[in-house]
């Protein structure tokens, strides 16, 4: 025989559970509608445009295997990660030009993110404020990149050299493709290793 008070307690708990379930469902629906409405709505505030600054893009040239610094004026955000993405985006925009000295399709959208992580404590040879840049490239960029030792190496070296030119604290660079580690860029250049920006200095000649 179940006591009466236990039956009442059970009924109350059951009703409370059902009520909470209904409430949760309604809250979920409301949040979903709010998200959908937010995506569809027009911006209510004009985007802030960063002031134009001088940036050095170290551009590759397939003809002589060189990396040549070029100074460009472009809007650069204050945040270092966004800044790195902006300069790399402009660099890849240069390569997207069919007449480029190092033609690679994709453009600025090929750099999904650049994460800057502190290196302090990991390598004693670096300065305390040294940074590791993790460059997340898009899968479309890797899929459309021309295959070849020279062209792939030049792309990676020019990215490293451009980061070094604009963010001197970046001493190491790692590459991801769509957020995942990948063996090579397009069949040749190794993407599993960590690149040192100091090794990717601009070169004009052909000396190894």
């Amino acid at each position: 025989m179940i006591p009466r008070y236990q039956k009442i307690l059970f009924a109350i708990l059951l009703i409370a559970s059902l009520a909470m379930g209904v409430l949760l469902w309604q809250l979920r629906e409301r949040a979903h509608k709010r998200l959908v409405a937010g995506e569809a709505s027009a911006p209510t505030k004009a985007p802030e445009v960063a002031p134009a600054e001088q940036a050095t893009l170290v551009a590759a040239n397939d003809a002589d295997n060189s990396l040549v610094p070029q100074v460009h004026s472009l809007p650069l955000p204050a945040d270092p990660g966004a800044r790195a993405r902006a300069v790399l985006g402009r660099l890849l925009d240069l390569y997207a030009d069919p007449e480029a000295t190092h033609p690679v399709p994709g453009g600025a959208a090929s750099v999904a993110q650049v994460f800057l992580l502190p290196l302090s404590g990991k390598a004693k040879s670096h300065t305390p404020d040294a940074l590791l840049a993790v460059v997340n490239l898009s899968g479309n960029f890797a899929a459309g990149h021309p295959s070849g030792l020279q062209t792939e190496t030049l792309t990676l070296d020019s990215i490293c050299a451009t980061l070094r030119a604009n963010l001197p604290r970046v001493v190491e660079v790692q590459f991801l493709v769509d957020g995942q580690q990948r063996a090579t860029l397009a069949g040749h250049a190794d993407l599993t290793r960590t690149y040192l920006t100091a090794e990717a200095t601009p070169i004009e000649g052909t000396t190894p």
Binding site: D62, A63, D64, N65, P146, S147, G148, L149, Q150, T151, T153, A183, T184, A186, G187, H188, A189, D190, T192, R193, Y195, E199, T206, T207, P208
Partner: protein
């Protein structure tokens, strides 16, 4: 995990990844062994050339041409593949290290750039050790590889080819314990930058192979001088 705090683990790791070249059977005395590594193969087609041919086929054709020329000059040639088969990167390096190669060339073809691109490992030179790490075994040989690149550059330049030199991280080459280079044949271009010969053009490949063979012969001669 901090490996540096675990000495037994470090010892085990070092021993387990040590270069197997130490266990390789010795090459016949006096023989100069050249290892030719036709890159890609099998499922790994590499790039596609403008002629429509796959890079793996062009690399193999160059390897066969170069093997014939080197054999005719009395050199022992070991190839990593003789047909359209998949060969793992580590296996390629193992082949070179077991053969105790005098030199090793990793052969590539590409549609970008022009002329012949020579690449040495981007590893920093390091003194030779008994148990080098597998992924950076080439570090002890980088200085010789760069010298070998100079010999190839000179020979190809004298033959009228445009040559570009560079450094790169290339799995396989980075694990080789011999003077090793990656040779990438790009299209031959005229002064107007128009392509005059594709990387898989038989005549173009034959001329490049002849220059490479002459350079390897010179390298062997210089290496044997006291």
């Amino acid at each position: 995990m901090h490996w540096s705090k675990s000495t037994p683990a470090v010892l085990f790791a070092v021993i387990s990844i040590a270069v197997p070249a130490q266990q390789a059977p010795p090459a016949p005395a006096g023989r100069f062994v050249v290892v030719l590594d036709a890159a890609h193969g099998g499922d790994d087609a590499g790039g596609r050339l403008d002629s429509g041919q796959l890079e793996k086929a062009a690399n193999l054709a160059l390897s066969v041409r170069l093997r014939s020329l080197l054999g005719a000059r009395g050199m022992q040639v070991v190839t990593t593949r003789e047909s359209d088969t998949s060969v793992e990167m580590n296996k390629r390096a193992e082949t070179a290290n077991h053969a105790k190669a005098g030199v090793c060339l990793s052969l590539h073809s590409a549609e970008s750039g022009s002329g012949v691109h020579l690449f040495a490992s981007s590893l920093s030179p390091e003194p030779s050790t008994r148990f080098p790490a597998w992924k950076s075994a080439q570090a002890a040989w980088v200085t010789q590889s760069l010298a070998f690149a100079g010999v190839l550059n000179s020979a190809l330049g004298h033959a009228g080819f445009k040559v570009t030199l560079g450094r790169t991280a290339l799995p396989g080459v980075d694990s080789m314990t011999c003077p090793a280079l990656a040779v990438e044949i790009g299209p031959q271009r005229g002064d107007d930058n128009k392509i005059s010969a594709e990387p898989d053009d038989p005549d173009y490949q034959s001329r490049v192979a002849a220059s490479l063979a002459a350079a390897i012969l010179q390298w062997r001669t210089e290496a044997r001088q006291p």
